[in-house]
Symmetry: C2
Subunit: 246 residues, 2 copies
DNA sequence: AAAGTGTATATTGTCAACAATATATCGAAT
DNA sequence: ATTCGATATATTGTTGACAATATACACTTT
């Protein structure tokens, strides 16, 4: 009997379909399964998730509010397209928020958490050594996530995560140069040193600068890509255009 | 014929019902027509707006993402309840974002915009002189809105506005003491001076401190209210409780 | 009177259907 | 061959309906 009861409890959904669809759609956008500008066909998505259009639309309204999805009246929902200028602005915000988080951490972080950050930095070194840019990217995200969780500041956490999510709308630059990774991880080291020293103002400055340096690295990587694209002028552009349905 | 065409265009809705309902609900929450904790009956709201439950639910999902509304499975939507700790965190975020905005303004603001800010400060002086706390509150909001618009930074604008909206979930302290209003406006003056001087770092610090000073004033006003409530212990509390349906 | 129990009502979460609008397809004209 | 226009299809925005769940109410028991 006890088992039946627990089964019944387990079977009873603890989440609305909207919440499930929303999480999955968000994931698909953030990891790039859905690309900026893609049209989101309600029926197709509903069918894919095994639900009706209602929950899908509700989920998309939430994602619209999170700036991940845009809408045109009578044309439906699209994965938001984001301009380089908007990306640059997001870096601005991330910088001030991350500065705040780091300053706060300097006076509150535990020895265990510091050790975990050190370990994460070591792992990133390994990724750099093996030239695994994708893995470095993943670890870097995890490092930042660790810090914002440790800061124990819900509002900052939420704001920062939302900004990170938005920035994923830009195509990921998987081709991370080793030199840039080294630079980035060196900044991590200096930041953690400041945290260990309990120097809030230094931590704020380093956190802030780390994000802005990330923007410089992003811009450099975009410039490089553009240069490569320019060296193969007519053919590549046309081929790319046909893929996107607009 | 031209008239018919323009009529047809005017008649054709330029917005979805969801967007209209969302704006109206947001307004009702922010101005306090709907109070924190209030249950949002879908049918009643749909009837009130002359639409069906679909658009109402979509609007609420968006507001949920904006942190204005919360949801409990099978119990529906509620105006979000916000704790003093959460309010305090929002002030933290507002402070760093407003600091950023002010720093940016220092190097970009036009003479006209500066004149408009001066005028707004004068108006606030008038409100203080007449002891009109509500009007001061309104003008203060408008002053901040002016500055964030001038900053011409979409991301900061959106982040800041969202934080302001959230903070409206806390019951407004209409009983603003004249001394606090004077203090607040003096901070406005110093800030605008820094903007005129083009001193970005000073502007950042003053913008930051102005928000944090606002938090101190808010806390003081809460403490005062609590003291008043404590002096009338049993009766008032019970009467208030019956009004709220839970 | 208070607490518990069972029934009726209300409300939500989800779905399916419909009208309005947009997109795609096809043929005719230049 | 392209452009234009008319028709057919697809998709959206919105509505009303239905089952599952929660709330309110009357009734019994202590």
């Amino acid at each position: 009997m006890t088992e039946n009861v627990s089964d019944a409890i387990a079977l009873r959904r603890a989440e609305s379909l909207t919440a499930i669809v929303q999480r999955e759609l968000e994931r698909m956008i953030v990891v790039g399964e859905l690309r900026a500008g893609d049209r989101l066909n309600e029926q197709a998505l509903a069918q894919r998730f095994g639900v009706s259009r209602g929950p899908v639309r509700e989920a998309m309204r939430a994602l619209e509010c999170a700036n991940l999805v845009s809408t045109r009246l009578n044309q439906g929902f699209f994965v938001r397209e984001i301009s380089p200028e908007e990306i640059a602005e997001i870096y601005d915000m991330r910088a001030v928020v991350y500065g705040f988080i780091c300053a706060r951490l300097a006076t509150t972080i535990s020895a265990e958490a510091l050790a975990a950050l050190d370990a994460a930095i070591e792992e990133m070194d390994t990724a750099i050594a093996t030239g695994d840019g994708k893995e470095y990217y993943r670890l870097n995200l995890a490092f930042h996530e660790q810090t914002i969780v440790c800061a124990a500041h819900n509002c900052a956490q939420q704001t920062y995560r939302s900004l990170i999510n938005e920035s994923h709308l830009a195509r990921q630059r998987s081709l991370v140069e080793p030199e840039r990774m080294r630079e980035s991880n060196a900044e991590h080291r200096r930041l953690v040193e400041a945290l260990k020293a309990g120097d809030a103002e230094l931590a704020r400055e380093l956190g802030n600068k780390h994000v802005l340096a990330g923007r410089r690295r992003w811009k450099a990587s975009v410039a490089e890509e553009d240069a490569i694209a320019a060296s193969v002028p007519p053919h590549g552009a046309a081929a790319g255009a046909t893929l996107v349905h607009k």
